[in-house]
C-alpha cells in the first residue's frame, strides 16, 4: 500500500477520534485497531503525536476552506453565504448534539493543556472569522464587519455548547432561526442592536 494512503487513513481516524473523544484521550492503541495497523507503524508516517495533531488540523483547515469557498463559487450572495454558515449547525445537527463544535472543543482542550497545537486550533477560528468578515464587508458593513463576524461566531459557539448539554431539546433549531432573523435585520440595514 502506498505510504500516503495509510497516512490519510490514519489522519481520518484521528480526525474522528479527536472530535468524539478528545485529543488527549485518543491513544495509539485506539487508532491502530480502527485503522487496522500496528502501533509501531505510526512512527513511519509521523514523528510524534503532536505532528499527528498538526496533520489533523491542517486537513480540517483545508476541508473548511473548501466548504466555505465552495459556497462563494456556487454563486451564493454574501448574505446567503452567512446564512449557509449559520446553517452548518443544522447540517451537523446530530454530531454537534453528541460532541459539540469541533473547533471550539478542540481549542478549549488544547488551551487547557497548554499544548503547542493551540495556535493551530486558533487558525481554524480565524478561518471562519476572516471569511465571515469578508462576507459582511461585501454586504456593505465594512465598519463593523469583524465585530459582526465575531458576534455570529460566538452565537454559533454558544448554541453548539448548549445543544451538546441538552441534546434532546429543539433548542438548536430555534437558535438558528433567531440567528437567521438577526442576519435579515442586519442585511436590511436596520438598527437592531442584539
Amino acid at each position: 500500500m502506498k505510504s500516503s494512503e495509510t497516512r490519510e487513513k490514519i489522519i481520518t481516524a484521528l480526525d474522528t477520534l479527536y472530535y468524539e473523544r478528545g485529543f488527549e484521550a485518543t491513544s495509539f492503541a485506539d487508532v491502530a485497531e480502527i485503522v487496522g495497523i500496528s502501533r509501531g507503524n505510526f512512527y513511519y508516517h509521523f514523528k510524534t503525536k503532536d505532528e499527528m495533531l498538526d496533520a489533523v488540523i491542517e486537513r480540517r483547515i483545508l476541508e473548511r476552506t473548501a466548504m466555505l469557498d465552495g459556497w462563494i463559487d456556487a454563486g451564493q450572495s454574501p448574505k446567503q453565504c452567512v446564512a449557509s454558515f449559520i446553517r452548518i449547525l443544522l447540517m451537523n445537527n446530530q454530531k454537534i448534539r453528541s460532541y459539540g463544535c469541533p473547533v471550539g472543543t478542540l481549542f478549549s482542550e488544547l488551551s487547557k493543556l497548554n499544548h503547542p497545537g493551540e495556535s493551530g486550533a486558533r487558525e481554524l477560528y480565524d478561518l471562519f472569522r476572516v471569511w465571515l468578515k469578508r462576507r459582511f464587508e461585501a454586504m456593505g458593513k465594512s465598519d463593523d464587519a469583524d465585530a459582526l463576524a465575531m458576534h455570529i461566531l460566538a452565537r454559533s459557539q454558544g448554541a453548539a455548547s448548549l445543544a451538546n448539554a441538552y441534546p434532546d431539546e429543539p433548542f438548536l433549531e430555534q437558535e438558528v432561526q433567531q440567528m437567521l432573523a438577526w442576519l435579515d435585520a442586519i442585511a436590511d440595514g436596520m438598527q437592531i442592536k442584539t
Copy 2:
C-alpha cells in the same frame, strides 16, 4: 489537623486545577504537591478520583447557588438579576480569557470522556438555566422564560469561548454590552427578535 479541613483544601486545589488544566490532566501528584500532602493520603478522604470530581461539582453548585440567590436577597429586581448574571463575564474577565467558562469547558471534557460526572456538570448548567428562567418569569415573560434563559446562557457560553480564543481583544466587553442592550429590549416588551 481535622479531617474536614484537609478535605476542603484538597477540593479547593482540585477545583482550581480542574478549571485551569482540565479534569483528566490533573494528577494526584500535582494536587499533592500544591496541598502539601502525600499521594497516599488522598484515599483516606476520597475513595476514587471520580468521587473527588463529584465533590468539586457539589461545591461549585453550592457556591453558584449562593451567588445567584445572594443577588435576590440583596433586593435586586429580576432584570437587575439577569444583568448581574451577564456581568459575571466581566467579573471573571481574566480567568475566562485564560481558561474559558468553568461550566462549559468541564461539561465538554466530561462529555467527550463519556464520564459519569457529565450529569453532575449538566446540573451546573441547570442551576443557571432554572434560576434565569425564574427571573424572566418574574419579569412577566412566563411564556418563553425558558427559551430566554437558554438564549442568554448560550450567548454567555459563546462569548466565553471566543474570549478564550482571542484573549487580547475587547470582544468580551462588547458582547456584554450587547447582551445588556438585549435585556433592556426584552424588559421593555419590545418585539426584537435576536
